[in-house]
């Protein structure tokens, strides 16, 4: 009924929105929100391809599970970093974190 293309376009759109969030948001936490969106888009793609391929091959779902785990780990560590940075520099505005400037 629903062509694969719809899911793929949905995932692409979600990915692009997440990308925008990563590139344009000032707050570091908001950037991580964008990352989460991108990871979700990926997951949608994976599961859609599982469904529209050979359903007996569980690789799609397994991959999605692993992505979950990785995303969780990444958010945990990322937010811990943000908190740590906030403690030191008293800011979470990404623009202000420019120690690697020339």
């Amino acid at each position: 009924m629903i062509p694969l293309s719809w899911y793929l376009i949905l995932a692409a759109a979600l990915f692009s929105i997440g990308l925008f969030g990563v590139l344009a948001r000032r707050n570091a936490v908001a950037i991580l929100l964008g990352v989460e969106l991108m990871l979700n888009a990926v997951n949608i793609n994976l599961v859609a391809f599982w469904r529209y391929g050979d359903v007996t091959q569980m690789a799609g779902q397994v991959f999605a599970i692993i992505v979950f785990a990785v995303a969780a780990a990444e958010v945990a560590v990322g937010l811990a970093l943000v908190i740590s940075v906030y403690r030191r520099r008293n800011t979470v505005v990404a623009e202000e974190l420019d120690l690697l400037k020339w």
């Binding site: 990308l19 990563v22 590139l23 344009a24 948001r25 950037i31 990404a94 623009e95 974190l97 420019d98 120690l99 690697l100 400037k101 020339w102």
Partner: protein, 713 residues
Amino acid sequence: MTTETLIWLIPLPPVLAFFLIVLFTNKNKALSHSVAVGAAFLSWLGSMIVFVRALGVEHLGEHPFESSIPWLPTGETWLKIGVLIDPLSAAVLFFVAWTVLMIFIYSVGYHNYGQPAGDHDHAGLPPHGATVTDDLGHKQTVLSVEPMYSRFFAFIGLFAFGMYTLVVSDNLLTLFVGWEIMGLCSYLLIGFWYAKPSARNAAVKAFMTTRIGDVFMLLGIAFLYSATGTLTYREIFTEQTLHALATIPSGVFGLSAAGLIALLLFIGTIGKSAQFPLHVWLPDAMEGPTPVSAMIHAATMVSAGVYAVIRMFPLLSLDPKTMTVVAFIGAFTAIFAATIAVAQNDIKRVLAYSTISQLGFMIAALGVGAYVAAVFHLITHAFFKALLFLGSGSVIHGMEHGVLHTGNHKVDPQDMFNMGGLRKKMPITFWTFLIGGFALSGFPIITAGFWSKDEILADAFGHGHLAVFITLAVAAFLTAFYTMRQITLTFLGEPRTEEAEHAHETPWTMTAPLVVLAFFAVTYGWVGIPEHFPVLGGLVPNWFHEFVGGTLAEHPEAVEFNIVPLLTSLFVALGGLFFGWLVYRNVNSVEQDKLQIPLLKNKYYFDEAYDFLFIKPLTWFSEVFVSKWMDKGVIDGILHIFGPATDGIGSVIRNYFDVPVINKFFGDGSADATYWVGKNLRPIQTGRIQQYLILSMVVLFVVGGLVYFLLLA
């Protein structure tokens, strides 16, 4: 060892002596003269052995001792060099060996071996005397030893090598080699006392003048080689080669090839044997030490010139025009030089002009075809002229004793007018000099000079060359005259100066060679007594004529005896001697000498004429035209363009290309560009990660798009 090997070895000892002295024994006088005299002795010994063996060979002319080696490859054939002892070279070898040995021994005494070193003696100047104090505190000045003693012996050793090479050679090439070596040694030895400007100039003059002759001689050799393909005498003097050369015209003066070749070779002799017009160097060559004058300029080197003509006689005799030229030059030189000799006051100068004159005799003899007579006179002249020169050296030494005794250095020990009465002070020198002088004048019977000169006159008369005969007779008269003048002024009468008073005899190393040479001056003539000579002829066979005549393919005939030349000889010889004594026994000073005619004294102003005609223009040419205009002006001018031009090009390249383009544009420019790029790219690194991400995404899209559309689509 075989005779041929011995002949090859004869020239070797003197050249080895040269090298040994130069390299090793230079500082040791005794060792140097021992090496030199020893070498001369070895060569003498070898020459005597060869000579004796040569005497024993029947028809040596047809079966000479010869040995040659192929030397220079010329395509299919070889140019050969080698040695040859035929009757001519055997006879010449004899006198060369004796005179060389005698002169070597003489030089030991002449350069005052054993005397102390001089007070102010410098190498390059003649020795000036040393002051010695005897036990009683008396000071006297004695002759001092020559500072450059070893050098002298080295040079005469080299010279002897040159002469021996020339004599034993069987081809024109090694003859020329020996010729040139002797030319070099002549230069070195005339300029022996090189600190004297007169000696230096004389050396250069000698070398240059003989060089002119040598150039023509080389042309002759080249022509001969190109015409015949060989330079070996025995190959040239074959019937067919001679005939070919006589018939080919050379295109010059209407001479045949033979005539032109002979003429060119003769010009070499004109230079080397100081014939007119290239005679100017020989009197100046008296600047050298007396043994040099004796050996080189009396006995051997100048004889080499005559020897060369004698050797080429078969070629020369083919063309009557060349023979005429030869006869004319010889006769003219004979009388010309004799007239100059009567006005000379230096004892050596008289002998120098006498040598020129006597060589003229020999050349004239060849010009009229008197082959054997020329050889005879060559040999006898060598003996008595060497004797006379060595004698004059002895006289000069005696006079120098006197000069050192009185301390008056303004007195010239060589001026005959300062001498006189030396017969009492220097008896051995006197008697040997007298024998030599009589031989030169042609004193009858008992001197060798008589026999040889008489034979020349007889041949000239007998073959009808009356002009030559009369000229030579007059020259002979003058010869006797000036010889007696010389003897009278030097030995007879009373000492005219204090220096002459104090002269004394020279040591045995100088007088012994005089005695030996005097012996030959007396006896050598007796081997050539003509058969038809009244009374004496026929008692001893004319060995000389038989022996030397065998050199030529056709044995020359002895000339018919005629009383006219004999009487003429006797008259001119005795008459000249008598006249000379008569005129000069009362002449005590140069003012009383009536024959001091300026024209004669100044040698007919030939030197001045040559200076004006040749030397000055050539000097101008080299100093002004070549050196100043061409070399400094044109060539240096061109080169001076290169310098600034290169400089200009360099500075253009530097200032218009190197600095602006390479340095500024590429060098500084790239640095500035890099800096500018860096400066402008630096702000990219903001440290803000979101901007990095944006940039990386953009690049990803660009590159990905490119890859996709260019490669995959």
